[in-house]
């Protein structure tokens, strides 16, 4: 692998001469550089490991953890708010339904009450009216009776007068009345 192509070959001796001074010739296998490389590697990698383990990775892990926590918290908050909104909607719907029921109840009760009141008033009115009608009927009956009584007297008088005029002699009062009564019952 150290022989790429002929033109480079004559110069190779020149380049490798300082290398052969240390023994190997092929830099990665020159053991005289190993101690220094191990030393610097140990220092560099040790520093890197220390920085990563103590500072960098806890920081990054913290960031990721915070973000995850924040996301979970936000999601929790969102679902909590959603359930709150749901509960609010439910309670709103419930109270709306209650109010509707109540309104319906009130309306029904009012209607029933009004109907009952109207009924009682109608009944009292009817009662009063019936009483008045009864009174009036009694009155009418008594008046009729009175009137009829008067008519009997007037008719008897008239009949007496007519008979007296015709015959010149006043008839017996009782006979006239009997005759009148007879005509009444004949009807």
């Amino acid at each position: 692998m150290a022989q790429p192509h002929p033109p480079a070959a004559p110069h190779e001796g020149l380049i490798h001469e300082p290398a052969t001074e240390h023994g190997g010739g092929f830099p990665p296998f020159e053991s005289s550089t190993f101690a220094a490389q191990v030393l610097w590697l140990a220092l560099a990698f040790g520093l890197l490991y220390y920085l990563m383990a103590k500072v960098a990775l806890p920081q990054i892990a913290g960031i990721l953890h915070d973000r995850q926590g924040r996301l979970a918290g936000d999601l929790d908050e969102a679902s909590r708010m959603k359930s709150e909104a749901d509960a609010a909607r439910d309670s709103y719907e419930r109270s709306l339904k209650e109010a509707q029921d109540k309104a319906k109840g009130i309306a029904q009760a009012t209607r029933a009450q009004l109907a009952a009141e109207a009924d009682t008033r109608r009944k009292t009115l009817e009662g009063e009216l019936a009483a008045k009608i009864g009174e009036s009927e009694t009155l009418i009956r008594s008046r009729t009776a009175t009137a009829m009584g008067s008519v009997r007297e007037v008719a008897a008088d008239a009949a007496t007068a007519i008979v007296e005029r015709l015959t010149g002699q006043a008839p017996d009062r009782a006979a006239v009345e009997t005759a009148y009564d007879r005509t009444q019952t004949a009807h």
């Binding site: 033109p7 490389q37 191990v38 610097w40 990563m52 960098a56 990775l57 892990a61 990721l64």
Partner: protein
């Protein structure tokens, strides 16, 4: 130009500051070390500074950091299962570190830290040592049950145990060599294809053919981009699977 055409040259370590030698070893702050610390700095910037506002609705950079974190956390959880949360920082560090170093390697003239076997081997060793140490701490000798799969007939057990032990030992090797070899081979291939372009242009009439390796090197660059990300992911996934053994050695 000839120096640039050497495909191995790019893997050389260039000491920026040298602290002298300890025995045969040169202790130097190289460009490789610089890349490592730049990677650590960028990762810290992305994961700490960009997420500093702790925004609930993230910005672009915070989103990116969160995506990486969630990706690794879910990979670890899927592969290692219950109780694997404690290993997320380790796998996350490994993934980001390997990913950035791989991608740095894709920048022209940049250096690929993960093309050095010692680096990938050390990272793999961290994984295996974590598995072994945590396994023994959490499960005691029960952890050794990892090497004895249930439901194996008695006469087959010695053979199976040997196979399981060998497979366990080869894990850090395969984990490190996979990453190292991918990065090394990719960068060499890229360099060679790109090197063909000036070589053909310099070869007179053959210059007509130079667009061919150019197109190829563009394609290989895209492929290497994929490999850079994929190898980081493979490293993280295999780490999670190995850690699963430490958490649940019984199954």
């Amino acid at each position: 130009m000839a120096v640039k055409m050497d495909p191995i040259h790019q893997f050389e370590l260039k000491p920026l500051v040298s602290f002298g030698h300890v025995g045969h070893q040169e202790i130097a702050f190289t460009q490789s070390a610089l890349y490592m610390f730049v990677a650590v700095g960028l990762i810290a910037l992305l994961t700490i500074w960009a997420t500093g506002r702790r925004a609930v609705v993230p910005g672009r950079m915070q989103s990116l950091a969160e995506v990486f974190y969630e990706f690794i956390a879910s990979t670890v959880h899927q592969s290692a299962g219950h109780g694997s949360e404690r290993f997320v920082p380790l796998v996350f560090s490994l993934f980001m570190f390997v990913l950035l170093l791989n991608l740095f390697g894709m920048i022209p003239y940049a250096f690929a830290v993960t093309s050095h076997i010692i680096v990938t081997f050390m990272l793999a060793l961290v994984v295996i040592l974590t598995v072994v140490i945590y396994g023994f701490m959490a499960h005691g000798t029960h952890f050794l049950g990892l090497f004895v799969p249930p439901g194996v007939p008695g006469w087959l057990k010695p053979l199976i145990v040997v196979i399981e032990v060998v497979s366990f030992i080869s894990r850090p090797i395969s984990l490190s060599v996979r990453l190292f070899a991918n990065m090394l081979a990719g960068h060499i291939a890229l360099k060679i294809f790109a090197g063909f372009v000036p070589a053909l242009l310099a070869a007179g009439v053959w210059g007509i053919l130079s667009p061919l390796p150019l197109v190829l090197s563009v394609a290989v660059t895209a492929l290497e981009m994929l490999v850079a990300v994929l190898q980081a992911y493979v490293f993280a996934t295999l780490t999670s699977i190995y850690l699963s053994d430490a958490l649940h050695p019984g199954h």
